[in-house]
Subunit: 409 residues, 2 copies
């Protein structure tokens, strides 16, 4: 008996919205160029979108079709979180409490708290424990509408824990990034000695497990010379390149990213007007992380200046236990509108199609159009802009991933 | 056959936390004085807490007892939202989008958007429609852990819609506040003419439906003379008093609240050092609304100065469609720690016991202690401080209201 393809018709939706498409991330005015269809349907066939349009134009689909009632709901593309750190043990709730009482993030880091305290807890977890934590974090993301996500290692910083982190991200359905240069672990005297080890002993295997490599270019972590050495070796091994840059100080991350052809430079809270121009003139996407700026009560990144200068930008959670304990891209969209002064349409493009481009998935997801992956979020709202408007709301009614309902509220 | 009392034992909780109690709101250092019990139980009997303690001290409860496994969870008191506007129609998503593009809140209000656009939509709803909206909003609150809440009228501003709003709040389980002086509706030429109408035609019935009265004392709404007149009439009619004050400009709300013996003055973003001292010297509680400041991208209230001066403070959502579209007190606690520099313990007291005092419920809820109402939130966290730490997280595992599980995730 021939296998019949599974088809799912989401009908009578109040709205369906999709960003514009293209071979590269959206820039400038194109970032706000979203298409809204009212009183609409989306028809899915196995893992792909078959068609989308107005209800009055819906032809009888024929054959067996599962139906989902979309009345009162709005459909947006499955969200793409292109910057998360999901592989860790312990928590940083004590540090959060101390910071509320006035301690600074860099100060806590220097005092042996910060990233290195999470490194200790992560090494102690073991591979099964790490797998369980990453799976739990991936479930949190799904509940907030995230159907595609990147997950970084970087809380192991020894061979076994780094490789286990990358495997755990893959197994939970994420795109793994080797953040081998996140911090210098305590068993090394300096950053160069640690990089000697990481590039010789970890990179050969990490390159087979990860899609990309990332480095924390910042005072107290790795400088531009060390970052260049790390990234060049990773590029040579076939990995795409990402950088954490200009979070606390402007340290040359933007020109380095442009020179090396990195996919993104992430943070940019401290990026100057010159850095903004450099980024805008490059093919590098700026990944903005406003939840991290909120969590640390630090200045927001210059989002408006970047967009207006013509830079490609994406938005992400920065999910991690120390500086952004959140998996909510809807919250990030709210912050993008209230704090970064993005229009809801710009925020939507930044957490879908542009974020997909950062991960190399720009061709097959991040939009609602025939042939693309059948990843949708149904919002419990008559207008898709509630995604940003309903602050910390129960805005996600259902999540469809690969053509199947993966979460329902 | 005698009716057997329903008993519920929540056992093996990682932590149970409760603020300190007392006949008045907590002030100064007492605000941070919370008691944490590790490896704990809470035993409920009908609508009340029977006992709380460490598992090793749990005596066999005897009789029929329903059990709930609390492993990996932390229990906090049911949250109390002492400032919400749940009775409205329509939405303000278009205005939200315009504001993201740079328009100011007062500017939109003056242009006929703002509160008056919601008044039109609310009047058009009808009583059944209004009841459905308030019930939906109350369900959103419950899902975020809110078991006691205040709900204001103020989007009707005619007799029928104001009274219908108060009834809808009561029916949904809230404590109704008559916000008869929210704005001047379009059918009146000025604020005094509207107050003549409201006090003569609405107050007599509102006084029988509401627990309290509230006024928006602000440039463009009601001035201090008008607020005094409104509040004195409401006090005479037996209502407790609340004020919206110092949101955009310092307008005399704090001394007026102190003089009239109001329960609270709410907002205080623009309160000066002198206003802070006046509030601290009074019995009035300052209700801080950081989600509203975030939503409007306005300055945060001087929370630290108020607490350090000895003022009693509470925290609330300010849930409304225009300036704070959120029902999440966990988000408010996160903002209290990140933006207002409160310790998690201070934030907890401010959304439980102190908020209960603002509503006149300080004696029977807002804490976990024998004899109090059996309202609990079980957090999906090994440490109760995740309430604030897990930003926009799925932190609520279950909500127990009046001794029964009212929501479970």
């Amino acid at each position: 008996m021939p296998q019949v393809a599974h088809r799912l018709l989401v009908r009578d939706l109040a709205q369906v919205v999709s960003p514009a498409g293209g071979p590269a991330p959206l820039r400038g005015a194109a970032l706000a160029d979203v298409r809204v269809v009212e009183d609409a349907f989306v028809l899915l066939r196995e893992g792909s979108i078959e068609s989308v349009g107005r209800m009055r134009d819906l032809a009888p689909p024929g054959g067996e079709v599962e139906e989902l009632d979309g009345r009162g709901l709005s459909a947006i593309p499955g969200l793409v979180d292109c910057h998360t750190h999901p592989a860790w043990g312990g928590d940083r709730v004590e540090e959060f409490s101390l910071r509320a009482a006035g301690a600074g993030y860099e100060e806590l880091h220097a005092a042996g708290g910060g990233i290195l305290s999470t490194v200790r807890a992560t090494r102690a977890l073991g591979e099964a424990g790490l797998r369980a934590r990453v799976a739990r974090h991936a479930d949190w993301m799904l509940r907030h509408g995230t159907t595609t996500w990147e997950g970084k290692s970087g809380y192991g910083l020894d061979r076994d824990t780094e490789l286990a982190s990358l495997r755990a991200v893959s197994e939970a359905g994420g795109s793994p990034t080797w953040l081998g240069a996140h911090a210098v672990p305590p068993e090394f005297d300096d950053a160069d000695a640690y990089l000697d080890f990481a590039l010789a002993e970890v990179l050969p295997d990490a390159a087979g497990l990860a899609d990309a490599a990332d480095v924390f270019l910042e005072r107290g972590a790795f400088d531009a010379v060390q970052a260049r050495r790390y990234l060049l070796a990773c590029r040579e091994a076939g990995l795409a390149l990402r950088l954490h840059g200009d979070q606390f100080t402007e340290s040359g991350a933007v020109p380095l990213a442009a020179e090396l052809g990195a996919r993104s430079v992430d943070h940019l809270e401290a990026t100057s007007a010159e850095g903004t121009r450099t980024l805008a003139a490059s093919d590098v996407t700026g990944v903005l992380l406003p939840a991290s700026a909120l969590f640390l009560d630090r200045p927001m990144p210059p989002a408006r200046a970047l967009i207006d200068a013509g830079a490609a930008i994406a938005l992400a959670t920065d999910f991690n236990p120390g500086s952004a304990f959140t998996t909510s891209l809807p919250l990030v969209c709210s912050l993008a509108c209230t704090k970064l002064k993005l229009a809801p349409a710009e925020a939507l493009s930044a957490v879908t199609v542009n974020a997909a481009h950062v991960l190399g998935f720009g061709a097959d997801r991040g939009r609602i159009a025939p042939g693309l992956r059948a990843d949708l979020v149904l919002l419990d709202a008559p207008d898709w802009r509630y995604l940003a408007y309903h602050l910390a709301g129960d805005v996600v009614a259902a999540v469809i991933a690969g053509g199947r309902v993966a979460h329902r509220c």
